[in-house]
Symmetry: C2
Subunit: 288 residues, 2 copies
């Protein structure tokens, strides 16, 4: 384990660099140089070392995809810290990319790249138990079942992307410009979502406007409740866990927590930033 | 009942005019003068009479909506021919608009405007039985339960619109440009759709590409199977009918028929054009 190293959480549209010394963050910076904004990764990595120190570097996220620097092949689930550490894509003696994780379980292929560090870190640092259901809300919401501290299986839902599509285009867009909070309209959407009938529930938003059965200012919250509620209902139906641990910022976290509680389970918010750091330190600690 | 009258099926983006004499279509024309392309409806109706004859006229569809000529208030379900005929919006002594139908059943508001004529006509002319499940595939797919020849209840699903959104925008758009036929990939999508977990099933299309588990040329058919299959599964779960009658053109009709059969029910295609004519004649025959 190095006394000091650099960790880079490098996504599609932004990245965050951490300087870690003796297991603690000494310095961090976020910018919008996501992988789609970078063409010369050697130069970009050189720039990072020039600014943060000439240190070993571990990279995670879309930097290891076919739109990133080099392709780090997926590690099949179940996958733990040791599996990721053993399958790093080595760029050179002190630069490596953490692989993503794949699954073919239940006849539904799925992939993640970047989220695995957070998930494993949440367990490694004790923010979540070794047997747990973890959720990472967002454009493509990830749900992972952890067994013995490893990612045993996972499901990605296009929950956030569907909401963004509906808000930007098509019949409902004009109705969906309002604020989204975990209010009564949101919870009504979560309740309707238990029908698991999204395409019909969505048209109900239009019909409610035509018939005047709901204040149209509540349509966005209701639609968000439909989408998040559908995601939550499907995942909880398939999970025995009484608690879902949410890795998320507070706004989206509050929506997922409300939907989880409306589906008769408990929700616990976990610091996703701390989880990433714990994960990347755990991986680094296994290296020679 | 008039010896001759004009029927206009006047939608958002196009319209079809029929000259009907002694219960038969003598002449018909379709154009793109939907309600959004017309500002002076008096003049537009005058033009129709100048071309087709100075006759009584029955109009149906979005012409009776708040984006049309005048608002014809919805008739609540259950609604039959007599209910529609009794609630026509009279413009003048020989010009009237057929109202749409609404429902608040099962805590899900829903509306239709234009489809009701086809549905009631299908039963009136014997193309479908008086107790039946009817489906009108499309951008906003309508499913109606007919009891004693009336529209007892109905559900609209944004099936076609969701497919169009996904095909035009977002993560999956580039993958969804291929042809859609009721092939093996379509049926695999229908099977996956039985999980009633659309947002997650859709991400599987992306993951299948990343993992190479499906020929990407099949992605569009699979996605269509997911959407149509989800619509079909939700509706058939709630219906005791062994047969679903499809009012549709042949391409979309074949997709719905395949999905219905994959959900262990029978499908029967009904001529939607003939159904509209039968419906409008049945309504007209009740007028003084």
């Amino acid at each position: 384990m190095a006394d000091a190293f650099l960790a880079v959480d490098w996504g599609t549209t932004n990245r965050r660099v951490y300087l870690i010394e003796q297991g603690r963050i000494v310095r961090t910076e976020r910018d919008d140089l996501g992988v789609t904004a970078v063409t010369d990764f050697d130069a970009a990595v050189g720039d990072i070392r020039a600014r943060f120190g000439d240190l070993p570097m571990l990279l995670a996220g879309m930097v290891g995809s076919n739109i990133g620097w080099r392709l780090a092949p997926y590690v099949p689930a179940p996958a733990g810290i040791a599996n990721l550490a053993a399958n790093l894509l080595r760029i050179d003696a002190r630069t490596a990319i953490v692989p993503g994780v794949s699954t073919l379980a239940g006849n539904r292929p799925d992939v993640m790249r970047g989220e695995e560090v957070q998930l494993l870190g949440a367990v490694a640092t004790g923010l979540a138990p070794a047997q747990a259901l973890l959720v990472q809300p967002g454009t493509h919401c990830k749900w992972a079942t952890m067994i013995d501290g490893r990612i045993a299986g996972f499901t990605t839902a296009m929950t956030g992307e569907l909401f963004a599509l509906l808000r930007s285009h098509g019949l409902l867009a004009a109705q969906l410009q309002g604020e989204v909070t975990p209010n009564a309209a949101f919870l009504a959407g979560v309740e309707e979502a238990k029908r698991r009938d999204l395409a019909a529930s969505l048209f109900g938003i239009r019909a409610a406007k035509m018939l005047g059965t709901r204040d149209d200012g509540d349509a966005a919250a209701y639609a968000s409740g439909l989408l998040i509620g559908g995601d939550v209902a499907a995942r909880l139906d398939a999970s025995p866990h009484a608690v879902a641990h949410i890795l998320s910022g507070p706004e989206l976290g509050a929506l997922y927590a409300a939907a989880i509680e409306a589906n008769d389970r408990s929700a616990m918010l976990v610091d996703s930033h701390a989880a990433f750091i714990a994960g990347i330190i755990a991986i680094e600690s296994q290296l020679q």
